[in-house]
């Protein structure tokens, strides 16, 4: 795997956005992306819901003392997630009721996402609170950007539209609207993303 090995702020940002991108490289929280991110508008609801729950859950989880045993810590992380979900769902239901309806069971599932479970432990090992904050912010930005890019490509290919506007594609691949289409497209984009990272690395080495 290509990674930025330094633990500097620049390295943390590079890893979060590129080398350990949660969607295209690490494969975290891909279920809602594969099933729900069919178009750009649904993807916007998805990233807002994800960002709200993940940011506040990780922020509050960072105050859980390290000396508590892991068995109890993991329950505390998910309880914090469930508590953060309450104001998040009320807020989003007021702001975008149709979007929340469309998300269905995937909204509360962010509470036990692999992202929260793994990051809430990883951030313990970062040296300062500043770096921890930077890591959380840029991991969320990396996830959001990847989801929006994926949804935009999927909407163009599956519906021939972008943000609902017809762009006149010669062929529409309707199968990409289904979860299996989501899996295949995500796999292809992940491969292209890895090729781009490899190309950048080779150019820098030369």
């Amino acid at each position: 795997m290509i990674v930025a090995n330094d633990n500097s702020c620049k390295g943390i940002v590079k890893n979060a956005l590129l080398y350990k991108n949660p969607i295209f490289v690490s494969g975290m929280v891909i279920a809602p992306v594969v099933v729900m991110a069919n178009n750009f508008f649904d993807a916007v609801t998805l990233v807002i819901a994800f960002s709200l729950i993940t940011f506040f859950t990780l922020l509050m989880s960072s105050f859980v003392p390290k000396n508590i045993v892991y068995t109890v810590r993991i329950i505390l992380y998910t309880i914090i997630g469930a508590l953060v979900y309450v104001p998040s769902v009320i807020f989003l239901k007021y702001l975008m009721p149709e979007g929340v309806e469309a998300l269905g069971i995937f909204f509360p599932l962010f509470i036990t996402s692999s992202f929260i479970i793994s990051r809430s432990e990883t951030i313990f090992f970062l040296e300062t609170k500043g770096k921890m904050f930077l890591d959380i912010i840029f991991c969320i930005i990396g996830y959001d950007a990847a989801v929006l890019l994926f949804a935009a490509i999927r909407e163009i290919l599956a519906f021939g539209t972008i943000c609902g506007n017809i762009i006149g594609m010669p062929v529409e691949i309707a199968a990409l609207q289904n979860p299996f289409g989501g899996f295949i497209l995500l796999g292809l984009i992940a491969a292209v993303f890895r090729s781009i990272l490899l190309f950048i690395k080779r150019v820098r080495q030369k």
């Binding site: 891909i30 279920a31 099933v35 329950i75 979860p179 299996f180 989501g182 899996f183 796999g187 292809l188």
Partner: protein
């Protein structure tokens, strides 16, 4: 006989037609993570099955108590998480007390098998589609067995997915997603679709 037929049909639908991974992608991230550490894939799958089966019974009683008003969608995730936490601690305590050898092996992955989208998702799905206690249990068990089946299908191609014969950009995670997509497409066909000629 009719009851037996219904049970078999419900289990078949839960394992094959509405497989959590292939139809709703629930637990895919967990599958990706555990497939990188190839050890205990089946232990992990069985652990998920045990938890979904036990949780399904508890979900039935919890729903009877709490999920009876329009605002239940706000607080039910918290209730479900508390139930999951209870099952998680109970499981670890029972293993530690009665099966210490298994506890030593299982403690590394019990937390991932309890706190993942497949398990929490199964609680929401069975709450939505099931009515009786037996429905809850059979669906819960079926979801867990469906997960084991998906883990098995991933495990048998593990060496090929990570083989050096696969071009580097596709090796590992990307080709696994494409493989899951092809399997998902095959299982999607089982749900029955008519073609317009």
């Amino acid at each position: 006989m009719e009851l037996m037929g219904n049970i078999m049909m419900t289990a078949f639908i839960a394992v094959f037609v509405e497989n959590t991974i292939f139809s709703r992608a629930l637990g895919t991230s967990t599958l990706v993570v555990i497939s990188r550490n190839r050890k205990n894939l089946f232990g992990f799958g069985l652990s998920v099955t045990y938890i979904t089966a036990l949780i399904s019974v508890l979900t039935y009683f919890v729903n009877k108590l709490f999920a009876n008003n329009d605002n239940s969608y706000i607080y039910m995730p918290l209730v479900y998480i508390c139930v999951l936490g209870f099952v998680y601690i109970l499981t670890l305590l029972c293993l530690w007390k009665f099966l210490p050898r298994l506890f030593a092996k299982a403690k590394k992955y019990v937390h991932i098998s309890a706190f993942n989208c497949a398990v929490l998702g199964s609680m929401f799905l069975i709450s939505k589609y099931c009515e009786t206690l037996s429905d809850y249990f059979i669906h819960g068990l079926g979801i867990g067995l469906g997960f084991v089946f998906a883990v098995y299908l991933t495990a048998i191609v593990y060496d090929k997915i990570y083989s050096e014969k696969v071009p580097y950009p596709f090796r590992g995670y990307p080709i696994m997603l494409i493989y899951l997509g092809i399997l998902s497409m095959a299982f999607w066909g089982l749900s029955g679709h008519t073609l317009n000629y």
